[in-house]
């Protein structure tokens, strides 16, 4: 028996998505390197006082005779975080000057600006059931053992519970706010509007910015959490990174440092604004690890830049309408591998390097710009060199980046600089090198790149065009296909192989660094009362900060 059949259209499924990290390079930094360097502080957990506030809410919930379910906790949690969010947007304390990334502020900031006589705790301030706790902080609070996570078996508790240390933090936060009218008269009545002056009185002591004050009852407890919480090895790594940041903070006092300056200070020991940094001996190894992280960011930027150019070329050549031969792209790239336009753009003498020049000549030219032999290159190729990573990175954002005659050689030169700094076998034996090896499991490690290039340069005499072909075949085309395939059924392909051709997809591509956690780490230090705000010129260390820098720990 056969059921009748009719022709039908099939649904267009798996539509192309913009996606991100199309070569899988960013995930190595965000999922492997940065969690190793700064465990328990990530780019979204900016404010340490949220630890106090959230564990306080959790503790208050468990102190009441309420149903023990995720829904009941959400009902308890949301109105109280809503008022906190409105309050933090209303805060006028002098310490609040540069507090950003308040959970829910996208909606509550506008509400606060209207200066309403009273605020409704039931306002839908965020989509997520558990607001900033569920979205950002819960996992790190569990990692630092402020809470014990709950949920379906095999987890031991049906809901999250405060740890013993977490209860102490909650009690300290309670001491800070227990005399406020909000806590006394409104906290247990989430259905009642809260007058603006009540919210303001509450946030006067509860706000994120108030933790840095010496008299904040939860500050020392949170300091202890960040210095010693969770796994002992992770806590040690976190202490080392905080100490490194304090060293950098102390040496740059007088100059504002933002993420861009931080990246330059890591790689070059100086930044365009004039600040300089030389790590003290106790933080030297941590500094070298962070420096390798930043070197990898430039390396990743160069590869993403080459990928970006391939996608750009494919769409310009109408590769979304019919597949284009890969060989045609290689020919296109050959035509761009002349380094004179790049040198001209940088104000340097033309090196006369073309696609058929050996890659070794390109390396020689780069070495000659700082006038040194290979072993000294890393030490001498600094911000005052005529060509260095940051200049090439900046160039990519200039008008010149629209000119592939400059852009493609610049990205290749950036990779060549990476090789010159880290391509010496002796360097691979140093104790910080495991950072460079991260990403070896199916992604593109810095270690793999410099070793593969070293192997090629010692066994063969590849031309610049040979190296470009190798990079495009193995580091760009194959890697994108591998990464996009691993994300299926989410379709983030920008091109797909059809035999020896590529069919392109016309979707937006971005080209930028990934977050270095600089904002989160510097804000954490500042709000824990260890130093001033790094993004303001004057950012001296406090007594606690100086002691932590000197001894590596606090009692």
């Amino acid at each position: 028996m056969i059921a009748p059949a009719h022709p039908q259209w099939i649904t267009r499924m798996y539509p192309g998505k913009v996606g991100r990290d199309h070569l899988g390079l960013g995930s190595v930094s965000s999922d492997q390197i940065l969690p190793t360097l700064s465990p328990g502080i990530n780019m979204l957990t900016i404010h340490p006082r949220y630890f106090s506030f959230y564990v306080f809410l959790l503790d208050e919930y468990w102190r009441r005779d309420l149903p023990r379910s995720a829904e009941a906790f959400s009902r308890f949690y949301r109105p109280r975080e809503c008022i906190f969010s409105i309050g933090a947007s209303l805060c006028e304390r002098p310490e609040h000057d540069r507090v950003t990334t308040i959970v829910g502020a996208q909606k509550t900031e506008g509400l606060a600006r209207r200066a309403l006589p009273a605020y409704d705790p039931g306002f839908n301030y965020i989509k997520s059931d558990l607001g900033g706790y569920g979205l950002y902080y819960r996992s790190v609070m569990a990692e630092l053992e402020v809470i014990y996570p709950g949920g379906p078996k095999p987890l031991p508790y049906p809901l999250d519970v405060p740890s013993k240390h977490g209860k102490t933090i909650a009690a300290a936060f309670r001491r800070a706010i227990q005399h406020t009218r909000y806590y006394r008269d409104y906290f247990d009545h989430p259905d009642q509007p809260v007058p603006r002056e009540v919210v303001q009185e509450y946030i006067h002591t509860a706000c994120l910015c108030q933790l840095q004050r010496e008299d904040a009852p939860d500050r020392k407890l949170l300091l202890d959490t960040f210095l010693h919480g969770g796994d002992a090895r992770a806590a040690a790594a976190r202490r080392e990174t905080l100490r490194l940041f304090l060293d950098l903070t102390a040496q740059t006092d007088g100059s504002a440092v933002d993420q861009n300056a931080f990246r330059q200070l890591l790689l070059f020991g100086a930044e365009m604004g004039g600040a300089t940094y030389t790590p003290q001996e106790p933080v030297a190894l941590t500094y070298r690890r962070w420096r390798l992280y930043q070197a990898r960011e430039y390396y990743a930027f160069a590869l993403n830049g080459l990928w970006w150019h391939l996608c750009d070329w494919g769409i310009a050549e109408q590769g979304d309408l019919r597949p284009l031969p890969i060989e045609a792209f290689h020919e296109h790239i050959r035509g761009l591998l002349t380094f004179d336009p790049l040198a001209h753009q940088l104000g340097m003498a033309a090196p006369g390097l073309g696609p058929n020049a050996s890659f070794a000549r390109l390396l020689s030219w780069l070495r000659s710009t700082v006038g040194v032999d290979e072993p000294d290159f890393d030490a001498l190729c600094l911000l005052d060199a005529p060509i260095h990573e940051h200049r090439l990175y900046t160039l990519a954002y200039d008008e010149a980046s629209n000119d592939p005659q400059i852009f493609v050689p610049a990205m290749l030169a950036l990779l060549a600089l990476t090789y010159l700094r880290f391509g010496l076998p002796a360097r691979w034996l140093e104790p910080d090198w495991p950072i460079a090896q991260m990403g070896a499991d199916g992604r593109l490690s810095l270690d793999g790149f410099v070793k593969s290039l070293h192997h090629r340069l010692t066994r063969q005499a590849p031309t610049i065009a040979d190296v470009a072909r190798w990079l495009y075949d193995e580091y760009i085309i194959q890697q994108h296909l591998t990464v996009a395939t691993s994300k299926l059924p989410e379709n983030t392909f920008r091109f797909q192989r059809e035999g020896h051709r590529l069919r392109f997809v016309n979707l937006y591509n971005s080209l930028q660094f990934n977050d270095s956690r600089f904002d989160a780490l510097s804000t954490t230090l500042h709000e824990l009362g260890l130093c001033g705000d790094l993004q303001i010129a004057s950012h001296p260390l406090t007594t606690d900060g100086a002691q932590l820098l000197a001894t590596g720990d606090l009692p």
Partner: protein, 123 residues
């Protein structure tokens, strides 16, 4: 007339799968379509144009994207003087089956609008 969500057509109590296609996008088959098949469907065969299979096999030998080929399913080429470009999905068990034939489909993450003729049959 309603549209067919083709990958969902693979769901069901099937023991056997046969796909005929021209271009074999094996990574797409492995990462997106295989997961739709029930565990009991052990006999999975994908046949495509032989010359095209040789071409993509060369690429996959380098990129490693078709890792389950000839392990979790059989992929083979049809070598004929002309291109082999029949398009068919057949799913069967001892008592029933489902067949979809079309002008262009299945093994591509970049789906096109195509007509498909789905029918079910039973003993």
């Amino acid at each position: 007339m309603s549209e067919v969500q083709l990958p969902n057509q693979l769901n069901g109590p099937w023991d056997h799968l046969l796909i005929l296609t021209y271009g074999m996008d094996l990574p797409f088959f492995e990462y997106a379509l295989l997961r739709e098949l029930p565990a009991r469907c052990r006999n999975r065969i994908v046949l495509g144009d032989g010359a095209h299979l040789l071409e993509i096999s060369e690429a996959h030998a380098r990129d490693g994207l078709a890792r389950a080929m000839n392990h979790r399913y059989v992929a083979e080429g049809i070598f004929s003087p002309q291109a082999a470009h029949a398009k068919l999905i057949m799913l069967t068990n001892p008592t029933q089956g489902r067949r979809a034939n079309a002008s262009y489909f299945a093994c591509s993450a970049v789906f096109c609008w195509v007509t498909v003729n789905c029918s079910t049959f039973a003993r």
